[in-house]
Each structure stands twice: as C-alpha cells, then as structure tokens.
Symmetry: C2
Subunit: 294 residues, 2 copies
C-alpha cells in the first residue's frame, strides 16, 4: 500500500512493497492533482527529471528517464519478432510504449487498451512527448479493461505488451495465470508478449511465480533487467514469452547502427543492450534459473 506524499517541496514515494526504501523527487510545480474513477492521479514538474506522472502514489514515468523503460518493454519483444504487424498495448495510457511500437515500418496497427480515459487526457496535456503519438493513424484507442479485451480477440496479435502498474488493487488481475493464458490465446501462433517484470530487489518471489506460470503456458520464457533511476532499486525487469518454440528471445533479429539508433531517438535500447539485458546478476540468476529457459 502506498503512503507516498507531497512533503514540502518533495514528492516522496513510499509503498509497503518496498518498505524502508524511498525515491524522492523535488517538485518545481504541481501541474495536476485529481481522482479518476480508478485512481489518484498526480502530475508535477520536477526540478531535475522533467514532468512526472504518479498513479496511486507510485511514479509511472518521468520525462528524463521514461525511454529507458518504454524502449525496453517495446523493443525487446518487437525486435524478437520476425514481422510484427498488429500490436496490442495494455495499460500505458501515457502513450510511451505505443510511440516505440510505431518506430517499426512493419507495424500496421497498434491498439492501446487503457482502462482510464483520464490518464490519456492528462498525458496528452502534460506529457506530449509520449502521448502525441496517439494521434497517429495506425493507433486505435480502446478505453476499457485489458483482461476482457484479450479474451475477446483470439489469435489477433503479433505482439502484446502489458505496461501495467504494480500488482496492487485493480492491476492484480494482470499478474494472474489466467491472464497469461488469455494473452497467449490472443496472440498468433508465433506471437510474443512482454510484461513489466517488477524489481528483483523487492519482488523476487512474485517474479518467480510469474515466470513459473508463464513457463506452463508458453514454450519460451526469458527475463531481462534494465536501469531506470526513478523506479525503486533503480531497476526494472521485463518478462518475455513466445508462442514459437524456436524463438530466440535473447538475440535481436535486427541490427541497427548508431546512426540509425540516433534517428530512432533511442535513449537506452540497442541490439547490444538487448543481448546484455538477459545476462542476470548472479543473485537473480541463482534464484530464477529453475524457471527460465537454459
């Protein structure tokens, strides 16, 4: 449970999931503070990380480091798929993941399934560098429940990306085995899905359970980590699953030169980082190896 708060000039992020550890950002100006039908929403301009989106007390993204996360959760699956055309993004109303998916010429449609219209509205206004891509003609916005949506669209997608908040309250269903099975059903036979994979410093038992559940559903399962300063522990994990038993998730299918990566406006991701991010620090490897592909 979050007990985060605005405390003088600082936003202090505190949650029982990482009790005793807190990342704080200094506030320059509060841009929006309100409540939607689903959650508390706070948007502020920080003094050193640009505009920050906070949902239910948890930092979702900051302008300065959001690409570390959006790029990894999008390009790990997209650059593991031979020909991604139809992409579904669940959650991610800020538009960051959609923006990354649109960088692939092969992608003909991206469906954004976000439960909270208010998040989309607020991001369009205060985080245009992420949300303005939602006006792209290849994008369809569906405001509604992601769990229901995947059930209703069997065999439709090449790539599904779950850009979910932490598994607290309404997001809990996005971390259940039934949902992973529904996602597999919503993928084509060689489809790939990628989920926000939590933080190994605080969530190892949950991560292990997620991987175990997915191992019983998908023939290929892999786990990567990356650095994001404004997520707890400075780390974010990514769970990658493929329906294709021959898929090599840890090897990117396309190489990009530095010039191409600059043109693609990459901050964090590169084909080399793709490979390196699956090399897990020893305590993670030791804990997860029984539930990972060899």
């Amino acid at each position: 449970m979050s007990t985060s708060r605005v405390d003088g000039q600082w936003f202090r992020e505190e949650d029982s999931s990482w009790a005793g550890y807190s990342v704080s950002l200094k506030i320059e100006e509060i841009l929006f503070q309100g409540k939607s039908d689903f959650q508390d929403i706070l948007v502020f301009k920080s003094t050193s990380f640009g505009v920050v989106l906070v949902l239910n007390g948890i930092i979702q993204c900051t302008e300065r480091d959001e690409r570390t996360y959006q790029e990894m959760i999008a390009h790990l699956p997209l650059n593991s798929h031979p020909n991604p055309q139809k992409v579904l993004v669940i959650g991610g109303g800020d538009g960051g993941v959609v923006r990354e998916a649109l960088k692939y010429k092969s992608v003909s449609s991206v469906v954004l399934c976000e439960i909270d219209q208010k998040v989309i509205d607020v991001c369009r206004k205060f985080l245009p560098s992420m949300a303005s891509c939602l006006d792209d003609e290849r994008v369809t916005i569906h405001v509604g429940d992601g769990i229901a949506y995947v059930k209703d669209h069997p065999g439709e997608f090449d790539v599904i990306i779950t850009d979910a908040p932490d598994p607290i309250g309404m997001a809990e269903g996005l971390y259940q085995k039934a949902f992973y099975q529904d996602m597999k059903n919503a993928l084509k036979s060689d489809g790939i899905m990628c989920c926000q994979g939590e933080t190994t410093w605080f969530d190892l038992p949950l991560i292990k359970r997620m991987l175990k559940d997915c191992r019983s559903i998908f023939p290929r399962v892999a786990y990567a980590v990356g650095n994001t300063p404004t997520y707890v522990g400075g780390q974010m994990g990514y769970m990658l699953c493929s329906s294709d038993p021959k898929a090599k998730l840890v090897q990117p299918l396309r190489q990009y030169s530095d010039a191409e990566l600059i043109k693609m406006n990459m901050q964090y991701y590169s084909p080399e980082i793709h490979v390196a991010s699956f090399v897990l620090p020893f305590f993670i490897k030791k804990n997860l190896q029984e539930v990972l592909d060899t």
Copy 2:
C-alpha cells in the same frame, strides 16, 4: 554539497551533485554518529537494507547490497589480470574490497591505504561482514593519504583499486590526472587499476573527463556499469585501465561455475556479468565512445 539528514525515522540523502533526486532509507536504530578528523560518520541499522555506513551525508554501503559494488570494483580488474599477487586498495576502510581481493589464491598481499582510522574502527565494530577480513595475515593496513602512498611505491602493484567517495572535498585529488599518472607509476608494467566511476545519470561530464585523462596515460581504458539500489540512480560506473596494451579488459580471464560462484559468496558478479557490464546503454555509449577503446 550534501544536505542529507536524519528526518524523523528516515535518513534522506541529498546532495547538490544530484539535486532534486534522493534515495531514503528508514532507520531502525542509530548505531554511531560522530566526527573524525576528516568527516562526519553515521552508522545506522535500516529497516530493510541492514547496517548502513554514511560518510559526510553520502551512503557508502549497506549490508544488503554492498556486494554489488565491492564485487564489481574488485573482480573486474582482478579477473582481467593474468596473475594478480600484490593489490593496493585506496580508501575502502570498510574492508569490502579487500575481502573480495582475498578470494584470489594468487593474491599474496593486499595493502589497504585508508586515510581515516575512525572509518576502519567503526566498520570493524558495526560491519564485521566487510571489515573482519582486515585481520587476514595477507592484509597490511596503512592509515594515510592514498595520493602520497602511490607516489612512494613505484612499480609495486599488480592491481590498484580506488574505492573513493565522490570527488568532493578531500577526495577531489583522487579524480585528478596527476593521481592517475602516479597510479600508473605504482603499477607493474602489466598492472591494472579500477576506480569508482560515478553515475552516468548525474556525472557524465566528469566521467568523460576522467576517461579522457586516463586515455592519455594508459593504453587500455574501459568503462562498465552495474546496479546498486542505494546509490543514486541505482547505478554505479567502474573505470578500468591497463598498462598492458594487449589487455582485454572486457573479457574475464577466469570462468567460474555457478557452484564456484556460490562458494565464493558472490551476490552480483559472474564472468557473464563481467562481459555484459561493459555493454553500455545507448545514451552512455553515444556520450563516451570518443574517449573509450573501440
């Protein structure tokens, strides 16, 4: 300049070098608070990261994640050296780096050159998992200035590790070109040195300058990054330099099985992580590639 403070039940780390961003740890009990001839020293038991050592308001290490740092700063150079025998550790009075160096059978002597006797005393008392190794018969403790020490010991060491605090106040000299030259002189002809390499999210201009200085002195220079939750940005950089133009710093010389790594009590480092840690996120690579080996 640090404006960190104990604030109610929390220790809040704030510094002008990373203004607007703060990592905080909840305090269970303050174990020591005092002033040495050189700095303010605080030791507390945190609720979720074990015992924490704070110098001049900056977190130096916590029991829970210290090995991420100690292992990387020690094993990157030691496992890049064909036969490390004489090791010098500058700073690092907590003993963590010495503990890692002693894991090599080839190492016959480790000199710890720490300026502040009080840090050694406090760590012996409150952080025995790090400092107890200082009783090993291969260890010599020299309480004094590291800059003077390296000047007085030309051609003596196989590996020198600078476990320095941030370049503020008395530690500033440890980030100067003259000191890098003195370290090169204190190394044998195939010697390797490794320095704390700051955080790319906050210190890129400094890191670039450090690398440039070292490129003008050492034939081989490389830069790695790793994750440490209680350092700002959740990241720590490591600068590795070799006097041997043929040294392959990014490839470890010894492979260890998982069983061996467990026996060595490794938390973070493995030969695979050694390689992966030199693969830099794109914004770092883009910024540093002109001052790095290709």
